[in-house]
Amino acid sequence: MSETVYTVLDLSGIVKNVNACTFHNMSDISATFNAELQGSKSSTNPPDLFVESRNLGNTYAVSATVHHDTPPNMVPTTARITKIEIQFQTDISIHGDTHIISASPPATANSSAIWQYLPYNSASLPAYRNWITTPSISGVSIFNNPISGDSTAQIVSNPVLLDVLDFTTNPNGDFPLRYMDYATFVANFSTLVYSINVEGQSTVAGGNANLSCSADFKLINFQMTVTWSNPSSWTISPTNLTLPNNIITITRPETDVPPGDDDDMLSAIYVNGHKIEPNDPWVIIWLRFIIRIHFPVFDDDQPPAVPIEGDPIGTTFTGTVLLGILTITYADLSGIYTFDINHHHDTLYNRTATPTTQDVLIPAPFFVTAFFDTPEGDIQHFTGTRAQVNGAGTLKQIAQSHDYINTLQMQDIALRTANNKNPFSLTSFVDQQTAVRVYMDTFDDFFSISKLIIFIKSLFTSHPQ
């Protein structure tokens, strides 16, 4: 048996996104029982068949108490539980005896025992039964062999019964946030009760026979593994979006962690399952501690609640983290439109009352230049840009390194429609590769750029070259 334990949430601020804890060898378990089936039938007119089926006595109950708050098996109260795996290790022995009394013509007999593992208490059905996404095997006949004449057969098996509850799949629709909270976990998983049934069956054809079948069913181990993630430090704003206002801001508190060691940076986000990466057209800005996007138009239905998820770049964890849930109020912006060279914004139909119009900004106009570097990969100092540009509003720029690990907002440039100077935007950015993101994010702002000069100097180089 293996045990997997991860460090729980470090409240000092270093967030681990995926955690798991295993509970095992609980002392409260007892589940060992025997059951027998015996019967005798005769048949003189082959190929008559008879079937003797009898529930082997009682339903045997197994109970286990889950100690979830005792070290080292702790689930933090802030945990977002994404998966629970409940596992029984079993030892099953099924024995069958057949004595053919007479055979004219020769008789054959089959014996089988079917055991059923039912994760419920016959008196009440716990809610978690509906959340099992991958059930363990049950109802399987593990002994079904033909026996001729006097014979004995036995099968021994040690199946592992594993029930998996994967809350990321929203089982039974009870987990729209795709995790189970701590309070629900404690309420449903403090004590687990299971029932074991074993059922036997024998048939004889063309003769008289005595048959017997017995089963030993033993639980030799119990293990429960809980996997959880901690609430992400990222937050969504607003949580209620009313279209056509469609800007979403995702932020987290700034830390002193250097860019190269910052495991909680996001390499991608997901809006209702649609992946968005930093250079995608929906992105306004993508910085270490703030991401701003326009709500994308992929879906052709209108989901009222949209999960926003993210991929942290750290190697400690894998998978996607839930950042928040957006509630969307949609608006009918459909219709026929035409391009207007005199417009620096978009004018849309407004059908809230009497049809009229509404003006919105053009979503995220931007470009990201190629990377500027040296063939040797020198560490460079990037000090700013000079642009041959005119327009209106504020031209914004971000210096960024490869994969957006290191980013720095640069000085804004106030634009004029007529201009005899090429404005300079100062910064101080050090990295091996530098690209510049140029963008605008205000209503009626526009730019026209015909030249961009990027000022770079090598600071450090490697040897030998």
Partner: protein, 504 residues
């Protein structure tokens, strides 16, 4: 800034998404959005404005498809609005920002429609997308037909039509001249769109050489669109076998009734030598044309492809008669390959027929379409519906190319797919598109603005600026996003771009 060298970018050439972004050329973007190019400079794109006056009409919603509809006096729009809650598509005729006709056609299940203009009329066919194993196919709607719209705001009617009923009588007329002997006479009705029905009301009469013939009890058509009836006749028959449809029939000169009410036509004189214009070919024409997903013009012929019951079927009309399709000689032979006929276009007097993964060509040999020989052009690349660039009312261009969106990329087609593709610079981007949604891609060329617009499966635009040259190196690609999803685009009035937006 001492010792800091300036790296100059004086040329902005759009998006580059091919291979590792670390290796992008310095004059291209790793990412960009909502920009346009003027020569080598880059600007924010133009804003959009509403196209319909909210004070004059109720603006259309849930736009799925727009076509530029050239009428005799103006360029207008045909617009499909689809209501997903009722699964109903409705087509309107938008004349200008303040004038809108319709609905002109409403059909359950119509999520898209094919369109071809002819003589100021609009030929319309409802179609939709259907599952076909792991893929999807576009086919005409089941139990539906091709419709013709006159452009006057009246409801579109079924194209073609049935023959006229029986009952005409023929008698000796006043003194005149005919060729003596047994003749077969019949009536061909003509609709306002010029469609001529199969001959009906067939009857025999023995002419007297010194007399004309008079026709009575000429049946009228139950179709209110019939505007004329023509009397047709055979030449004199020596040994009549009793089959009124077994002889060539011809239009009698001056034997036309220019209405659908008059029931007699008296004293018509003619010689058999005067019978020149053949009417026999009308017998085998479709009286109703099944709905299709593909419609285009090839010379003066209308091409129809992909019906609901047979997505390999391609029909070709008679020259100059878009509704006259012979059920025997009007079928185009093309070898099935498991994929539907999905597009067709004329280019340099050759008809190109496309499936999603292949292209074949046909040349008009002057004989029946069923005798045209197919020539395989490409066995890997083809075109889905709307994936061939259109300029105003024609799929052929004012320069020598078509622009086609294929699974491989956006390619120039000059009788074969040119490589490298126009989309070579954004190959990663193009290959990342969901192939199961390629049926939604639409490509439109604005030759005046020198832009190619591509409506993407994710419902925003890819724009190719080719003012510096329509080739792989000089084309500048940009993405244009909007607050609302885009389903369709059209170019009207020479260079006006119209986009159709959907509700979420």
């Amino acid at each position: 800034m001492r010792d800091h060298k300036g790296q100059v970018v004086s040329s902005f050439n759009g998006l580059f998404d091919r291979g590792d972004p670390y290796n992008n050329p310095k004059d291209h973007f790793q990412g960009s959005n909502n920009l346009r190019h003027v020569d080598k400079a880059v600007r924010t794109r133009d804003g959009i404005n509403i196209s319909q006056d909210v004070n004059a009409v109720a603006p259309l919603t849930n736009i799925r498809r727009i076509y530029n509809y050239p009428m005799l006096t103006a360029n207008t729009l045909l617009v499909l609005s689809y209501n997903p809650s009722t699964n109903t598509g409705t087509i309107y005729h938008v004349v200008n920002s303040t004038t809108q006709f319709g609905p002109i056609l409403t059909k359950t299940g119509m999520t898209d429609f094919a369109f071809a203009p002819f003589g100021g009329r609009a030929y319309i066919s409802p179609f939709s997308t259907f599952a076909n194993g792991d893929d999807t196919v576009e086919k005409g709607l089941s139990g539906e037909f091709v419709y013709v719209y006159a452009g006057d705001g009246t409801t579109a009617r079924k194209a073609a039509g049935a023959g006229i009923g029986a009952g005409m009588t023929v008698a000796v007329g006043a003194a005149g001249h005919t060729d003596a002997g047994l003749h077969i006479y019949g009536v061909v009705s003509e609709t306002k769109s010029g469609y001529q029905s199969p001959p009906g009301s067939l009857t025999t009469f023995t002419n007297l050489s010194s007399n004309s013939v008079s026709f009575g009890a000429i049946p009228t058509s139950g179709d209110p669109n019939v505007v004329a009836r023509h009397i047709v006749a055979s030449k004199a028959i020596i040994n009549y076998n009793g089959d009124t449809e077994g002889y060539d029939l011809f239009f009698i000169p001056n034997a036309t009734i220019n209405d659908n009410t008059t029931t007699f036509l008296n004293n018509i004189s003619f010689f058999d030598q005067d019978l020149i214009e053949d009417a026999s070919h009308l017998f085998d024409n479709y009286t109703e044309i099944p709905a299709v997903a593909v419609m285009t013009m090839f010379g003066g012929r209308m091409i129809f492809g992909s019906t609901f019951t047979d997505f390999n079927l391609v029909l070709v009309s008679a020259d100059g008669e878009p509704e006259a399709i012979n059920q025997i000689t009007g079928l185009l032979a093309n070898k099935p390959n498991g994929f539907p006929v999905s597009n067709a276009a004329e280019f340099r007097n050759v008809l190109y027929l496309f499936r999603p993964n292949s292209a074949i060509s046909f040349a008009d040999n002057g004989d029946d379409p069923s005798s045209w020989i197919p020539v395989e052009i490409d066995a890997a690349l083809g075109a889905r519906p709307h994936a061939i660039s259109q300029f105003l009312n024609s799929a052929t261009q004012n320069v020598d190319f078509l622009i086609i969106a294929t699974y491989q990329g956006i390619s120039l087609f000059t009788g074969g797919f040119q490589t490298p593709e126009l989309s070579w610079k954004i190959e990663n981007f193009w290959k990342s598109l969901d192939r199961t949604k390629f049926g939604t891609i639409q490509i439109v060329n604005n030759a005046v603005k020198k832009r190619v617009y591509v409506v993407l499966p994710d419902r925003y635009l890819l724009v190719g600026f080719y003012q510096n040259g329509l080739d792989t190196k000089n084309i500048q690609w940009e993405q244009w996003t909007f607050t609302q999803p885009i389903n369709t685009i059209a170019v009207t009035n020479i260079d006006e771009d119209i986009i159709g937006c959907d509700i979420f």
